[in-house]
Symmetry: C2
Subunit: 118 residues, 2 copies
DNA sequence: CACCTGATTCGACGTCCGTCAACATAGACA
DNA sequence: TGTCTATGTTGACGGACGTCGAATCAGGTG
């Protein structure tokens, strides 16, 4: 395996950009806590409820939730005046796989992120 | 399980900061490519060799290698006038574990990052 | 209809980041 | 010793980011 001397480009420039975007979404303590909160609760939560448990303001929470939503780490579901956010369980598979790809761990095939939604 | 209403704080403010620092180190396409290059080659590489395969300047590569070294994703080994960089294989274990912790995947115990060095 | 409440967006501020060119450092070798 | 080569560091510049308060928008409710 890996028979050529060319760097087996599993991670080319384009993929590097995508991966970087994912990591960038987690490159902030507040977002990590938000994501962990949602994951730990394991249920859709409203913004207000999340704000109550966060040390930052409501607009900040809203902003971070938007960032996490854009990279599909969390999914949103509007219900009238309220908006429920929940963690996207697909990340459990796709994210460690991305790390494995970067670290050239060939044993794991990178699954497609095909949870159609948005 | 999860009998209390307190968020089971596996990821508290301090841990969130640490994790964010790790992710921040990967939140850049260039660093991801550098890390992947080192991982794919699977051997210590000199800065010049890395620069040859990178689209950015030498000082930039040096800077990014420093960042990756500070969070221990890569290890450095000085040899006279040259410096060899190689990927830290411990990341293969500790990094997915961190992701699992954030995503509240309780099944994996977070291993200590005790590859004494630095 | 007027009002209240929950959520997003806007504008601003200070800070940090990625990149480069230029300079500084430090082994190797004649 | 002096020079060469490989690497690290500095300073600067442009752009992006995190946070906040204020303004705005959109559903319910009376």
């Amino acid at each position: 395996m890996n028979r050529s001397n060319r760097t087996s480009t599993v991670v080319d420039a384009e993929a590097a950009g995508s991966y970087a975007a994912w990591f960038k979404a987690l490159a902030d303590p507040t977002r990590i806590r938000l994501l962990h909160l949602l994951a730990a609760e394991g249920r859709p939560m409203s913004v207000g409820e999340i704000v109550e448990r966060s040390p930052v303001g409501q607009s900040t929470v809203s902003h971070h939730l938007k960032v996490l939503t854009e990279v599909r780490f969390v999914l949103q579901e509007k219900q009238g005046t309220s908006t429920r956010y929940q963690v996207n369980r697909t990340c459990l598979t796709v994210f460690p796989a991305a790390v494995a790809a970067i670290l050239a761990e060939a044993r794991t095939e990178l699954p497609r992120e095909d949870d159609r939604g948005r």
